[in-house]
C-alpha cells in the first residue's frame, strides 16, 4: 500500500500512476504542502502525469541496495545535503541559544519517543523487536553502564547553559513540535507497529556518524565541538548521542527491512518514513525557533 507522504491519503491501487494522479490533482489546486514536497523531493519543474509516475518509480526504487539503505540515502538527502535542514546548519557552530532551543523542544520529543517505543512493544510478539525497544527505553530513561539517562543528560546540558530545568519541564512544545509529536503519537497508537518503528528509528540517523558514507555534505555537528569551550555537560550529551545512535539506527533499520519483507509492507514503510521525515524537518525548525526566542528573552 502506498500512502501519500504529505496528507497520508491511501492511494487507490497503490500504484505510482495513482500516486502521480493524486499529486497532479493537488498541485492543480496549488496545494502548498504537496507542491513543497514535489519541489524538495522530485522536481521543481511541472511534468506530465506519466512522467511524474516514472519519477516516483525511480524515487521509491530500493532494489539496488535494499530498503534500509534507501531510507539512509533519502534521509541524508533531506537533512545533510548541500542545502541541509536549517538547524543542522546552526549546529555546525552552535550558539548557547541554539543548544537551549534544542533542550526544550527535544525534551518534548523524548517524552513521545518512549511512548512510541512502548506502543511498538505492545503491538508485536517479535522478541527481537521488543528487546530492541526495551533497550532503547532503558537508555532514554534509566541510562546504561553507569551513564545517566539521555533525558537527564539533556536537562543537564540546558542547566549548564543557564536554562533552568524547571523552565524546560514546565514548557509547552512549539507548534511544529506539537504537530510532529501528534503525528508520531497517532501512528504509534493507531497504526502498524512496523510503520511506527520505521518512522521513529529512521530519525536516529540524524546523529549517525556513518551518514558521510551515504553522501552527506554535513554531519549533525562538527566533532571539534568536543574540543571547544562549551560546558562539559553539553559535550557529554552530544557524545552520548554520537556514540549511541550509530548502532541504534542501524539495528532498527535492519529490523525494519527484515519485517517489511516478511509482511510485504515495503511501500507502506517507505510512505511513513517519508511522512515522518517531513515532520522531523519541521520539528528541527522548532528547535531553531525556540533558540531565537531564548535569545530575545534571556
Amino acid at each position: 500500500m502506498i500512502i501519500c507522504p504529505v496528507c497520508e491519503e491511501k492511494i487507490d491501487g497503490g500504484s505510482f500512476p495513482s500516486l502521480s494522479s493524486h499529486f497532479i490533482e493537488m498541485e492543480r489546486k496549488s496545494d502548498s504542502s504537496h507542491i513543497m514536497w514535489l519541489n524538495g523531493n522530485i522536481s521543481k519543474s511541472r511534468t506530465s502525469g506519466e512522467e511524474l509516475s516514472r519519477l516516483f518509480e525511480n524515487f521509491y526504487d530500493y532494489s539496488s541496495h535494499g530498503l534500509s539503505d534507501w531510507i539512509r540515502k533519502r534521509f541524508v538527502m533531506k537533512f545533510f545535503s548541500s542545502d541541509p535542514n536549517p538547524f543542522v546548519l546552526e549546529m555546525q557552530n552552535p550558539t548557547r541559544y541554539t543548544l537551549m532551543g534544542y533542550v526544550t523542544e527535544h525534551y518534548h520529543f523524548l517524552k513521545q519517543w518512549v511512548k512510541s517505543c512502548a506502543f511498538i512493544i505492545a503491538k508485536t510478539d517479535h522478541y527481537d523487536v521488543q528487546k530492541y525497544e526495551l533497550d532503547n527505553i532503558k537508555e532514554e530513561y534509566f541510562g546504561e553502564g553507569g551513564t545517566p539517562p539521555h533525558v537527564e543528560l539533556l536537562l543537564r546540558m540546558g542547566e549548564s547553559l543557564g536554562l533552568p530545568r524547571k523552565k524546560v519541564l514546565e514548557s509547552e512544545p512549539l507548534r511544529k513540535t506539537k504537530e510532529a509529536i501528534e503525528f508520531w503519537d497517532n501512528l504509534s497508537r493507531n497504526g502498524h507497529w512496523l510503520d511506527a518503528m520505521a518512522s521513529m528509528h529512521s530519525l536516529e540517523l540524524i546523529a549517525d556518524r556513518n551518514v558521510k558514507n551515504y553522501g552527506a555534505v554535513y554531519s549533525y555537528f562538527n566533532p571539534s565541538v568536543f574540543d571547544s569551550n562549551l560546558p562539559e555537560d553539553v559535550k557529554q550529551f552530544l557524545r552520548a548521542g554520537y556514540d549511541a545512535d550509530q548502532y541504534h539506527s542501524s539495528d532498527a533499520l535492519n529490523l525494519v527491512e527484515k519485517y517489511a519483507r516478511i509482511y510485504n509492507m515495503e511501500r507502506e514503510v517507505q510512505s511513513y518514513f517519508l511522512k515522518s521525515s517531513e515532520q522531523f524537518y519541521r520539528y528541527l525548525e522548532s528547535r531553531s525557533e525556540r533558540g531565537k526566542m531564548y535569545e530575545k528573552e534571556l
Partner: protein, 103 residues
C-alpha cells in the same frame, strides 16, 4: 516588476496555478505560501527603503539557506538577505544599500 524567475516569483517552481496581484501586477506563484512570502518581502523592502515602488527583484537561494536578493527602484538599489517560514518573514538583513545601478 522585472524578476529573474520565469516560474513562481519566489522559488521558480512551475507546479501550481496560484495568481496574486503584487505591486499592481498579476504574478504567478506555485502556492499561497510563496505568494505570502514574496508579498511580505516586497513590503519589507519598501518599509526599509521608503520606496514607493519596486522596479526589479533578483532572488538567489532557497528555503533552507535563505535568499540573497537585489531589488531596485529607479537608480536606487538594496541588497538583502531574508528567510521566511510559512510565508512570514523571520529574518531580514540589509547587506548594502545605495544608488549604484545593478549590473
Amino acid at each position: 516588476m522585472k524578476r529573474n524567475y520565469e516560474g513562481c516569483a519566489l522559488c521558480d517552481a512551475t507546479w501550481g496555478d496560484y495568481w496574486r496581484e503584487v505591486e499592481g501586477e498579476n504574478m504567478f506563484f506555485c502556492c499561497n505560501v510563496c505568494a505570502d512570502a514574496f508579498e511580505n518581502m516586497i513590503k519589507k523592502v519598501k518599509d526599509v527603503t521608503g520606496w514607493e515602488k519596486v522596479d526589479s527583484v533578483h532572488i538567489e537561494g532557497n528555503y533552507s539557506r535563505g535568499r540573497n536578493c537585489v531589488a531596485t527602484s529607479g537608480e536606487e538599489k538594496i541588497e538583502y538577505f531574508f528567510r521566511h517560514e510559512d510565508g512570514v518573514i523571520t529574518e531580514f538583513a540589509v547587506k548594502n544599500q545605495g544608488t549604484r545601478p545593478v549590473p
